[in-house]
Symmetry: C2
Subunit: 241 residues, 2 copies
């Protein structure tokens, strides 16, 4: 007899992660602009595996070892890298069948922070429905982990957290007493009316626009571009479905 619902929480910043960390969690790492949108795109376009590394130095060493390296800090491509963090870099002709080393300002660090958990997967609007359906089947508590921007609260990650939480709660298998989930659901209820209009007010939109990197924002908010679910396993992100 089993009637208990599964715990659902949302963590709004890496600086708050210790308050939400449980070994039995499936953790969904979210960095809509742009790391987790790019990871979903890359695996959709046939990348064999992605090796996320936290530091610039690790990325540089991997480059010397002959890997394709995608790496940025604060939106700027690192000088030794093959390309940066836009999902538009990861086209099939460039990446299909390849292994890619990947390091970004916020997103890749969160993957490693959560690696003690039962599982770590990657979430974005691009794989929203497939991810929600996969999580509903797993029978484990879920933590939605917003990578945010340098530990500050991030609007677009939180809005996505609300979209995913809505699907999970509607399944009837989850419950929450987490105010961050409640707030994310309310923000999503406002944002979903016109997501691209809503996200114009996000601070990261302004930061990317200032660097001419905002061309991918509409793409990053497009639901269900792909069915891949990037799973972190043995130090690598691979596609499951």
């Amino acid at each position: 007899m089993k009637n208990e619902k599964l715990r659902l929480e949302t963590c709004l910043s890496p600086a708050l992660y210790s308050k939400h960390a449980h070994d039995d969690n499936i953790v969904v790492v979210v960095d809509i602009l742009r790391a987790t949108s790019s990871i979903c795109t890359a695996l959709h376009n046939g990348v064999k595996r992605i090796i996320p590394v936290s530091t610039v130095e690790e990325a540089r060493i991997k480059k010397e070892e002959g890997f394709i390296v995608a790496s940025e800090r604060d939106g700027y491509v690192l000088d030794f890298a093959d390309f940066g963090n836009s999902p538009f870099n990861f086209t099939a002709d460039k990446v299909c069948g390849k292994e890619i080393v990947y390091s970004t300002t916020n997103g890749t660090r969160c993957i490693h922070m959560a690696s003690h958990s039962k599982a770590v997967v990657i979430g974005s609007f691009l794989n929203l429905t497939a991810l929600a359906n996969w999580l509903i089947k797993q029978d484990a508590p879920v933590l939605i982990f917003c990578a945010s921007w340098k530990d500050r609260f991030s609007l677009e990650d939180t809005v996505f957290a609300g979209a995913l939480a809505e699907r999970l709660l509607q399944s009837g298998k989850f419950e929450t007493i987490c105010d961050a989930v409640t707030a994310s659901l309310d923000l999503w209820s406002l944002a979903q009316i016109d997501l691209n209009a809503y996200i114009q007010k996000a601070a990261q939109k302004g930061r990317l626009a200032a660097k001419g990197l905002d061309d991918c924002i509409e793409f990053c908010h497009q639901p269900d571009f792909t069915e891949v679910i990037p799973l972190f396993s043995d130090g690598e992100l691979i596609a499951v479905s």
Copy 2:
């Protein structure tokens, strides 16, 4: 010639405070359930000064020195204290003209964290209009600092942050690029339709109800009960206006 607008930010948890700390800030500490509502009530009812202390041990020493001590942890009154953290404790007959030492789980710690700033004041729905008007006159950047609950995001503090931010931005003297301000404004836009109904979904409401301490929730969300503005000065909270 001075045309620049003043910075407005919101910090959603003490664990994020270092990202928002600036010496030139006026910091508004917010702990709606219940510390900052109680502090406003106490000063409204004629308390001469409140000495916030961070630790239980400091509170105990002050009790031995003869002070009236209000002190709680996790909603429970400490055994040596005169009373706990409900605003209903601070009635005029008990506290008028007195000095009170005060220590709570979340709120008093934040006051000390922010004490490097230009000024630290106390915010709650109870003094919303008076506080907004006072801040608009000060000509300084404002940080709204949500005490939250054990570093976790707190719905009622964030909703208040939205209510206050709305007043400050409407004055035309402030501007923001902080996503936490943006989110708080949106949550306030939903909550203000029926604040008491909205706040039923806050986690802290459930925590207080479980301990029979939820009798003050409606009172704590009542706007403009008082015009006092508690200011932290020389280690003490005093009323300014």
